[in-house]
């Protein structure tokens, strides 16, 4: 290449020298071109032919013609032949054109199957590697595989053909004649004979020790054999047939490929026992026990079991650990050791202390069990009687007293008639009587209830019973007395006071009479027609209340007497007391009907009469009435309903809240202030209500009125002021005054109200 370059440079230098000549040549050619612009067709055709030939043969054209002219004349297509260009290149100092590129390519292609190309630009050879046809490759592969398979098949078939099957052999034997078969038999017999002979010879030559093979297989040879069953499964005197267990061909699996020596020994099993074990295992599996057993630290035999991690998978990973035992000498197994061990274990267990606390672990429940309840409950005392005693009152005892004779009659009947049936009834009565005794006399009866069972003693008991009943009667009298005393307690008290005071002899007499009556009367509550009548009227209730109301009445009367009579206090008191005592005595007295009260004594007496007569409603009475009514009222009536219907009721309270106190202020009854609220603004103007409101509102919101509004307001004020100042007889411009002055000046009683003529004209 360097040489070429040098050549080209040299040619360039030459070209410069020849440039003038070059130009002349060009110009001449151009001239030629222009001269033949009008185009001769023949020339044109000739050129075309030449071009075609060029393309076909790829040979340098020999013609000198270099001008090309398009038929349309739109653009002149100038092209030079290779030779001409080479000449030109030589003039320009360039290397000649490399012509033979295409030929080379073609040759190469022809030489080999591979398509080698020479790059036109760089002149480097390259191969065109066609892309791999994937489907083709795959097909090839498949085909190869098929071939391999077939080959393998053929091989196997050949192998099999060599081996004779049983059938074939048979067929062979069948095909053979009977003679052959006989021959074979003979051969066999001979072989057997020979063997026998050899054996005999062996026996002759060998020592007796060495002839083990012929010895019988005895139980002594079973020593060391392993039996994979729990020894408990075998019982004495029972026959179990054991067979050799199948051995695994591949010893061990997975992790524990190392096997202990025991595995090499023969293992005996019984098929039935194996089945049993499997069945029991299945049952265990079906139970689905929880895998997590945190507290089972000991196995069934009481041995401590270390807490292994996920030991539930041990059986799967390491294979099942089967129980086994080995046969001892002479193929025997001595179970005495086991028995001894068992014994020891039992002993050990018996000595162990059991923790009962652990035994009682169970879920806590909110409710007690029946047993716990029993523990918790105290034994119930027989309280029936006791309770009765406590609440025993005279009123309760009253019917008892009435019952007594009846019971007596019963008992008589009881004696005569069936005894046993009435016994229960009797029991009850007995009990009740006992109670009565306990309550009344205080000494306890010695009668045992168990005695009652004995019917023979019934009579005695009856006697005792009668005695007791008598006692009871007396006791009841006492209590009754006490109760009646209690009822009249207040009255008696009052009486005692009176006695102490010794104010009235008459009263004393009365009291004594009353006391006598009391002592005479055992039944204080005897009812007679009069009292019933009175109760019906309502006097009875009044009597009950009278005691309660007494105090207040007293004071009332006192006040009244103070107001009306203005007597001395002492006198009044005495009188009042007297009245009261009279009343008391009246109330207490046998005569239940009141004496006609004397009205002329005062207003108090009149009021009292009114109350008694029922003209004035008593507060207490009202209450009682309501209580009495409540029993008659509808039972389905509920408070809810009332709320629903009575709207006034509903809103009563809330209305009260806003009403204020309903009671007048007594002390300032005459105080009626005249309140007037006046409002003034900053300038001291009085404001009316509306303005005041606006003003306060402005103040409250902190935002005054606008400028215009204030101005307006001020102007309004000014106007108002002006109006106030303005005289009522004159105009604001004082016209009247001026007129009067004018009159004075003119001394005329009139004024001419016309402008001068001259002005009018103007």
């Amino acid at each position: 290449m360097e040489s070429k370059k040098s050549k080209s440079s040299s040619s360039r230098s030459r070209r410069r020298s020849d440039s003038s000549e070059d130009r002349s040549h060009k110009s001449s050619s151009k001239r030629k071109n222009h001269s033949s612009d009008d185009s001769n067709d023949s020339d044109h055709d000739e050129r075309r032919h030449r071009d075609r030939r060029d393309k076909k043969d790829k040979k340098p054209a020999s013609s000198k013609q270099s001008r090309i002219e398009e038929a349309g004349g739109a653009a002149e297509n100038l092209s030079l032949s290779i030779e001409e260009t080479n000449k030109l290149r030589a003039k320009l100092g360039l290397k000649p054109l490399s012509v033979d590129d295409h030929n080379k390519e073609k040759q190469k292609e022809n030489d080999s199957g591979k398509k080698t190309f020479i790059d036109k630009d760089t002149n480097q050879e390259f191969e065109h590697a066609p892309a791999k046809n994937l489907t083709e490759v795959r097909e090839q592969k498949e085909f190869k595989q098929k071939l391999d398979e077939q080959r393998e098949k053929r091989r196997l078939a050949q192998k099999i053909r060599q081996v004779k099957s049983l059938g074939e052999q048979e067929s062979d034997s069948d095909s053979e004649s009977a003679d052959v078969w006989v021959q074979k038999l003979k051969q066999k017999q001979e072989a057997a004979k020979k063997a026998k002979l050899l054996e005999e010879m062996d026996e002759q030559f060998l020592t007796p020790n060495e002839s083990v093979k012929t010895k019988k297989y005895t139980s002594s040879q079973l020593k060391g054999l392993r039996i994979e069953h729990d020894q408990a499964k075998f019982r004495e005197g029972e026959e179990v047939i054991l067979t050799l267990k199948d051995k695994d061909i591949i010893k061990g699996t997975g992790v524990n490929l190392e096997l202990d020596e025991d595995e090499d020994t023969d293992v005996l099993v019984n098929v039935n026992l194996v089945d049993d074990e499997r069945a029991s295992q299945n049952v265990e599996n079906k139970k689905k026990k929880p895998d997590y057993k945190p507290y089972e630290e000991f196995d069934e035999e009481g041995n401590f079991r270390p807490n292994a991690i996920l030991d539930k998978y041990d059986a799967e990973l390491n294979g099942e650990q089967k129980k086994f035992f080995k046969l001892g000498a002479k193929g025997m197994y001595d179970a005495s050791d086991d028995k001894f061990i068992q014994k020891l274990e039992d002993e050990h267990k018996s000595r162990a202390v059991r923790l009962d606390i652990l035994n009682e672990l169970r879920e806590a429940s909110d409710y007690m069990t029946a047993q716990e309840m029993e523990k918790f409950k105290k034994p119930k005392k027989i309280r029936k009687g006791m309770r009765k005693n406590k609440s025993l009152k005279a009123a309760d005892l009253l019917p008892m007293a009435r019952q007594q004779p009846q019971t007596k009659v019963d008992k008589v009947e009881l004696e005569s008639a069936e005894k046993k049936i009435n016994l229960d009834d009797f029991d009850f009565k007995k009990e009740s009587s006992d109670e009565g005794e306990i309550r009344s006399s205080g000494d306890e009866s010695d009668i045992d209830l168990t005695k009652l069972d004995n019917v023979s003693h019934l009579k005695e008991i009856m006697d005792e019973e009668n005695q007791l009943l008598d006692e009871l009667q007396t006791a009841l009298d006492k209590t009754r007395k006490r109760v009646t005393n209690k009822i009249e307690y207040h009255a008696i008290e009052a009486r005692e006071e009176l006695e102490l005071n010794g104010k009235s002899v008459l009263l004393e007499n009365l009291n004594t009479v009353r006391d006598e009556e009391m002592t005479e009367e055992k039944d204080a509550l005897t009812l007679d027609t009069i009292s019933e009548f009175c109760r019906g009227i309502g006097a009875e209730t009044r009597r009950e209340d009278s005691e309660m109301d007494m105090g207040s009445k007293k004071s009332e009367e006192k006040m009244e007497s103070d107001e009306e009579f203005n007597l001395s206090d002492v006198e009044a008191e005495v009188e009042n007391e007297k009245n009261q005592l009279n009343e008391d005595s009246d109330e207490d007295g046998a005569n239940i009907l009141d004496d006609e009260p004397i009205i002329d004594r005062g207003i108090g007496a009149a009021l009292k009469l009114a109350v008694n007569k029922g003209y004035l409603a008593n507060e207490k009475d009202k209450q009682f009435a309501r209580v009495a009514k409540s029993s008659i009222e509808a039972k389905n009536y509920t408070i809810e309903e009332r709320n629903y219907y009575d709207i006034d009721d509903k809103y009563k309270r809330s209305r009260d809240k806003f009403c204020g106190p309903l009671v007048d202020f007594e002390e300032k009854k005459n105080y009626k202030p005249d309140i007037k609220l006046d409002y003034y603004d900053e300038k001291g103007h009085a404001m009316n209500e509306k303005e005041a409101f606006r003003y306060l509102s402005h103040k409250f919101h902190g935002k005054g009125p606008g400028k215009k509004k204030t101005e307006k307001r001020l102007s309004k004020f000014k106007e108002k002021e002006a109006m106030n100042k303005m005289s009522s007889v004159d105009t604001p411009l004082h016209t009247v005054e001026l007129l009067i002055e004018k009159q004075k000046n003119l001394q005329q009683p009139f004024v001419v109200l016309s402008a001068p003529k001259g002005k009018q004209e103007q």
Partner: protein, 73 residues
């Protein structure tokens, strides 16, 4: 040898035979020899690329039968 067509769209279309290892300057000279213009006034363009004189045609990847635009400065 490759043949390149150069066309100024004013009525001149030149087919030039040259080597791929010729420079653009050489091509211009050949064109100038065929058309009768000053080679220094020739500008060869393909779209907006103006070919420079010192670069070979192969480097510009100008192959056989390509059309170049021919402009004059």
């Amino acid at each position: 040898m490759i043949e390149i067509t150069c066309n100024d769209r004013l009525g001149k279309k030149v087919r030039v035979k040259c080597n791929p290892d010729d420079t653009v300057g050489d091509l211009k000279k050949l064109i100038a020899a065929q058309t009768g213009t000053n080679w220094q006034r020739i500008v060869l363009k393909k779209w907006y690329t103006i070919y420079k004189d010192h670069v070979s045609l192969a480097d510009y990847e100008i192959h056989d039968g390509m059309n170049l635009e021919l402009y004059y400065q």
